[in-house]
Amino acid sequence: MISLRGVSLVYPNGTRALDDVDIDIAKGSFVFLVGHSGTGKSSLLRLLYREQKPTRGEVSVDNVRVDNMRSAKVPELRRNVGVVFQDFKLLADKTVWENVAFALQVTGARTRDVMRQVPRVLDQVGLAHKARVFPSELSGGEQQRTAIARALVNNPKIMLCDEPTGNLDPVNANEIMDLLHRINLKGTTIVVATHNAQVVDRMRRRVIRLEHGKIVADEERGFYHVNDAGEPVAAGFTAPR
């Protein structure tokens, strides 16, 4: 589904964000990218929705090369890749319904489809009753669920989440992760960049660890903090269920 081959990314100021990275992510999987701030997690996600081109290497998404994709083809890619951010990126002057509908309307969807799809995803994220409410009247968790609904409304094959729980308390963070888990169960491939140890340890999914732009660990059913033997070490992690 997603593959990176020998990918390096050096920003114009000389910062080496990614250094010879190889990753394969299978269709329908759920993957955490972990590591400290500035280790290249967000940069890696940006390569996947072609916000950024790699300096070297090949990036494929859904069996299509995106590193050398023509600009005109990028919108098509992005309709297949939903993206969610820490700061939600909702439009303050639009209601929940309008924010979600916006993603369809600006891609030229027919009104009939908008009227059908928007209630469906709002129902899926549990916000049907808040459709007419503006983002400023929502809790952080509800705002993130709105953002997820917007990412979901085009039926993407992949969802990329950049610190989706960064602005949320633990309860809301868990709810968002549960929602992503349910979306994943329906077949959507999900990649979450995070340094929220609690959600990583609770979910027990594949964990890819980046340090200074290199992959230093890649484990199925991993933890956030591990020792050399791959066992959880740090204080404060919650035991997996």
Binding site: P75, R78, K89, T107, R150
Partner: protein, 293 residues
């Protein structure tokens, strides 16, 4: 037709347009000034061309033949001149006819009955097609046999030609500057709108809106600026045309009355087209520069 989709799009355009009304007014005002001046210039140039044509038609080269010239010599000269592609008409005035015309012209002013002999030479009155060629044709005639003298309104022709040339060049320079200014102001207005909507644009790009779709509302905004400016200018020009110009031609007799009859319907379309084109091109350039993916 999906009316919901159209309504969403028009709503986007309207929101863009009303986001910064002061800037929109500035842009529209600049276009108005530009189009008014362009209209005046084009109309003025048309008028000058007509006046010039009239003057040129009146410019005559008077050719006086020497005393030894026979009617056959005169005829030969006429045939030669009529064969010249630059010449519009040749009018032969034999000395007797010249005297008759002079008597008529001076009747009541000078007592021409005192003249016992005819002092006038045989003459040819030559008119050219293009005023630019007057000097050359005159020089050519001067070299023909039996030509004693050649006269024409030398200075008047040269001054008129030079004036229309200078006016044309200065006018084009000023207009180019104005169009450039209008384009810059529209493009800045669009830039402000793009800036004000950068969050929405970022989200549009994120969810996969095509570049054309993202650009179109901004292009429409520029088009509206250009068209509204042009329409306002046309209103101003219409008042000038139908209220001021008739008064002007009465007050200034050297402006020929036929200037009022110049057909301005094509000019109207041209001015609307210029307004629309400036708006579209300026906004296109502005949006393209800022929305590079």
């Amino acid at each position: 037709m999906d009316w919901g989709r159209l309504r969403f799009f028009l709503n986007e355009v309207l929101r863009n347009f009303t986001r910064n009304l002061v800037m929109q007014a500035t842009a529209i005002g600049t276009v108005t000034v530009m189009i008014v001046l362009l209209g005046v210039f084009l109309f003025g140039r048309e008028a000058v061309t007509r006046i010039g044509d009239q003057v040129v038609h009146q410019i005559e080269i008077s050719v006086f033949l020497d005393e030894k010239a026979t009617p056959a010599d005169a005829r030969a000269a006429i045939v030669a001149l009529r064969g010249d592609a630059r010449v519009r008409s040749v009018d032969y005035v034999p000395k007797a006819e010249g005297l008759r015309r002079m008597r008529e012209r001076l009747r009541g002013q000078i007592d021409t009955s005192l003249l016992t002999t005819n002092p006038l030479p045989d003459a040819l009155h030559v008119r050219v097609i293009d005023a630019d060629t007057v000097a050359a044709v005159a020089a050519h005639i001067r070299k023909m046999p039996h030509v004693a003298d050649v006269e024409y309104a030398h200075d008047a022709v040269e001054r008129l030609l030079r004036l229309s040339d200078v006016v044309g060049k200065v006018g084009i320079a000023i207009l180019a500057l104005l169009i450039f200014t209008a384009a810059i102001i529209i493009s800045n207005t669009i830039r402000l709108t793009v800036y004000a909507r950068r969050r929405e644009i970022a989200i549009m790009q994120l969810v996969g809106a095509s570049n054309t779709y993202i650009r179109l509302p901004f292009i429409c905004e520029g088009l509206i600026d250009g068209l509204l400016g042009a329409l306002l200018a046309l209103a101003v020009l219409a008042v000038a045309r139908w209220q001021l110009l008739p008064k002007l031609t009465t007050a200034l007799p050297f402006i020929p009355a036929e200037v009022i009859r110049i057909d301005t319907s094509l000019l109207t379309l041209e001015l609307l087209g210029v307004g629309a084109a400036v708006g579209i091109l300026a906004s296109w350039a502005s949006v393209s520069r800022q929305l590079r993916v």
